[in-house]
């Protein structure tokens, strides 16, 4: 509780006369403003430097960076005292692209680049217009062509050979792209005056949000074949994708509903006064305002989906985390799972951190 009491003091400390060496002054305000604070700073510095020192010793000084192909003896020699980063150059193609045919791996690589370009363009305010929808549809179609092939001289690659980062990006992006229209419909349904439509929407949202994603994925992998006529079978990846879309739809619906509630009722009344029909009223007046309101939470939800796609590991789909886990089954490299997990964690972190930075900058500039 002592830390809370520091808050009102902070500006007072900053208002002290500005004399002396600026570095010392900074140290004094920020680290040694009082005796308990000074003790805390020294203790933290000690713990931190010890932690950093042992990490550098393990991860840099004693680490093995490269070994001859498929030979982990150098790594085994430093086991326990040094990291074995050599496993990354050894396995990175498998971790990133799974069992996709080796010579064709430029195709998933290009897909990843296209995904990143699509995300980047979608974050630019200048692109926030109707054409963005066509851009999304076009890019996603292009990525499908690249991944599947079978046309334009590209050899066909079936879905069960896809793996790694592209699968993670596909699950998250298609989940958002298809869940978004679904979410809009359900959000409108939940605010509708028609009792049957409203109660069905409530039932859908509450059922999906009430259960863990794991159980939805189990349902997709085990129960989906039961639901379909015999002989009709769709791919495991597509089944997981459907589960993620249904999951995303329920969460997005709640966020969009929040946006709809934030649109002032005068806007609805004005649209009614213009004699617009229900659908034109929402398409032209209400939804554009509602969605602008909720862009930061939408980005946050997308971060959550991106992380949640890793749950497909449980039903055996080869996303980034599953390929990483599979890469370390190899007996020669079995003991170096920590290094692989750190590598994959860094990839996830880069994506999520970039998005959360973006969401924060949006929150800071919203209302302008």
């Amino acid at each position: 509780m002592t830390a809370i009491t520091d808050i009102p003091d902070a500006p007072r400390a900053a208002r002290r006369p500005q004399i002396g060496n600026p570095v010392l002054r900074w140290l004094r305000t920020n680290l040694f403003s009082s005796i308990p604070n000074g003790i805390l700073s020294v203790a933290l510095l000690a713990v931190l430097s010890k932690g950093i020192f042992s990490f550098v010793q393990w991860g840099v000084a004693n680490a093995v960076w490269l070994t001859p192909a498929n030979n982990s003896s150098a790594c085994k020699a430093v086991r326990g005292v040094g990291a074995c980063w050599a496993i990354i150059p050894e396995k990175y193609r498998f971790i990133l692209f799974g069992t996709y045919p080796f010579d064709e791996q430029w195709r998933p690589a290009l897909s990843v680049v296209l995904f990143i370009a699509l995300f980047y363009l979608s974050t630019r305010r200048a692109f926030w217009r109707r054409e963005l929808v066509y851009l999304w549809i076009g890019t996603l179609a292009l990525i499908s062509v690249l991944m599947w092939g079978g046309v334009l001289g590209l050899s066909f690659v079936s879905q069960d050979r896809w793996g790694g980062l592209p699968v993670t990006l596909i699950l998250a992006t298609f989940g958002l792209a298809c869940g978004f229209p679904l979410g809009i419909l359900v959000a409108l349904g939940r605010r509708s005056k028609l009792p049957a439509v409203r109660s069905l929407s409530v039932l859908y949202v509450e059922l999906i949000r009430g259960v863990p994603l794991v159980s939805l994925l189990f349902m997709a992998s085990v129960m989906f074949p039961l639901f379909m006529p015999s002989g009709f079978n769709i791919d495991k990846l597509l089944r997981a994708q459907i589960a993620i879309i249904l999951f995303a739809g329920a969460y997005l619906a709640e966020i969009i509903r929040g946006g709809l509630q934030a649109v002032p009722s005068g806007q609805y009344e004005a649209a009614d006064a213009l004699g617009l029909s229900y659908w034109r009223k929402h398409r032209l007046i209400v939804l554009p305002q509602a969605i602008r309101h909720v862009i930061p939470p939408l980005v946050n939800t997308f971060i959550a989906f991106f992380k949640d796609t890793s749950l497909v590991l449980i039903i055996g789909i080869f996303d980034l985390l599953t390929t990483a886990k599979t890469a370390i089954i190899d007996p020669a490299w079995q003991q170096f799972s920590v290094e692989v997990y750190i590598f994959v964690a860094a990839i996830y972190f880069v994506f999520c951190f970039a998005m959360s930075r973006y969401s924060r900058s949006l929150e800071a500039t919203s209302g302008r």
């Binding site: 520091d6 902070a10 400390a13 700073s41 032209l284």
Partner: protein
């Protein structure tokens, strides 16, 4: 979003009579028709498929012998028990990780949230790095990481002993414990009853004070009901409260409380991950209290503790409690990731049941029922708490 301007469409005028009602009815019939059609289609497929596979639907399988081993459970279990009992053991395991996880995550998250606001630059930076790093890495990856670390710990003979009586090895975390039998539980139950009675008496005393302004001390009741009564009962029944210290015998530990590596890894992963989110909620809650409130409390000459308890915390809690509810729900739902490392929670047991019996629909219906019940329970409690602390506008 849209480039074209809204233009009122030229339209023919229908007679106003019942038009809205008719379109409304049309949409409802359409939507309900589609949903009923899809459900009927799926249902008929399912019935055909199940009869083709000779699986009888229904919950009769719950009475059969489960035959699955459950290594780590709170309740007594052996493989000859029924599926129903296996499910109940699974629910107990889910609740064990969820309840303890919620308590620990709240404590850790609050500490980190407060640290982020500290005037100490180093502390607030460290807290920020913690929050950012843990929020941006998938929970499942963190869970696998902790589990790998657990497995890499030394064997029981070379266990780490951070504190006397605490052992950390690849068998998990072993702590000293007080064995709780029926007599001890009776005494603890009395203490809980005493606490409830004290809360009621205190409320009545405050109501009396509101009426005539005379202060009435509540502490004698606290001492009497919560401390003296259970203590007297403990002495009268001759209950022993000796601590049982774990000790290494051969290759394993005897005595004490063992947290299996799966449980411990799951608990650490859930607590650290959720605490990062809770820290952000606590930080924004405290920041939402206007500075004027601090100044006003200072001007009234309130003591620090009184100021925090009576002025700042009640206002911060109003912002904190609603998002906290959804974090608690998330933690509970995320505990189902246990299946990835082999801690047998209810989802993992349902999954095994499903593979053994083929009763997919029933197993998944049970998972849904369990989680919906837990979610509703948490929401109900938190909504009750929220309405208690909500702003009363006069």
């Amino acid at each position: 979003m849209t480039a074209d301007h809204p233009r009122p469409p030229p339209r023919r005028r229908f007679p106003a009579f019942g038009r809205n009602e008719l379109t409304g009815l049309f949409w409802q019939v359409l939507v309900v028709g589609i949903v009923v059609g899809v459900v009927a289609f799926l249902w008929s497929n399912t019935v055909t498929n199940l009869s083709a596979r000779r699986i009888t639907t229904g919950f009769a399988f719950l009475g059969r012998e489960a035959g699955m081993p459950i290594s780590d459970s709170l309740l007594a279990y052996n493989p000859r028990d029924s599926y129903l009992w296996a499910f109940i053991v699974g629910i107990a395991n889910t609740l064990r990780v969820a309840v303890i996880g919620i308590v620990l995550a709240t404590i850790l998250g609050t500490l980190i949230g407060i640290s982020r606001l500290s005037a100490n630059w180093l502390l607030s930076r460290l807290a920020a790095v913690y929050v950012e790093a843990l929020r941006d890495i998938p929970l499942l990856l963190q869970l696998l990481f902790w589990y790998v670390l657990m497995q890499a710990l030394p064997a029981a003979r070379a266990a780490f002993r951070p504190v006397e009586g605490v052992f950390l090895s690849n068998r998990g975390l072993i702590l000293p414990a007080i064995p709780l039998g029926p007599p001890q539980l009776w005494v603890l139950g009395t203490a809980v009853l005493g606490l409830t009675a004290f809360v009621l008496i205190r409320r009545w005393l405050i109501a009396q004070q509101m009426r005539d302004g005379k202060p009435r001390p509540a502490w004698p009741f606290a001492v009497g009901l919560v401390l003296a009564l259970p203590a007297a009962m403990s002495v009268a029944l001759g209950v022993s409260w000796t601590i049982e210290w774990p000790a290494l015998r051969g290759f394993n530990f005897v005595g004490g409380l063992t947290l299996a590596p799966e449980y411990f890894a799951l608990l650490i992963a859930l607590v650290t991950y959720t605490s990062a989110f809770i820290a952000e909620i606590v930080r924004s809650g405290i920041q939402s209290v206007p500075r004027g409130q601090w100044d006003a409390a200072n001007a009234l000459g309130l003591r620090r503790s009184l100021m925090l308890r009576q002025i700042i915390l009640p206002q911060a809690l109003r912002v904190i409690v609603p998002p906290m509810t959804s974090q608690y729900l998330n933690l509970t739902k995320n505990s189902s990731l246990a299946v990835a490392i082999g801690y047998q929670d209810v989802v993992s047991i349902a999954n095994t049941t499903l593979n053994q019996t083929g009763q997919a629909i029933e197993a998944i219906a049970l998972i849904m029922a369990v989680f919906l019940t837990i979610s509703l329970g948490i929401s109900f409690f938190m909504n009750w708490y929220n309405s208690r602390i909500a702003l009363v506008e006069r």
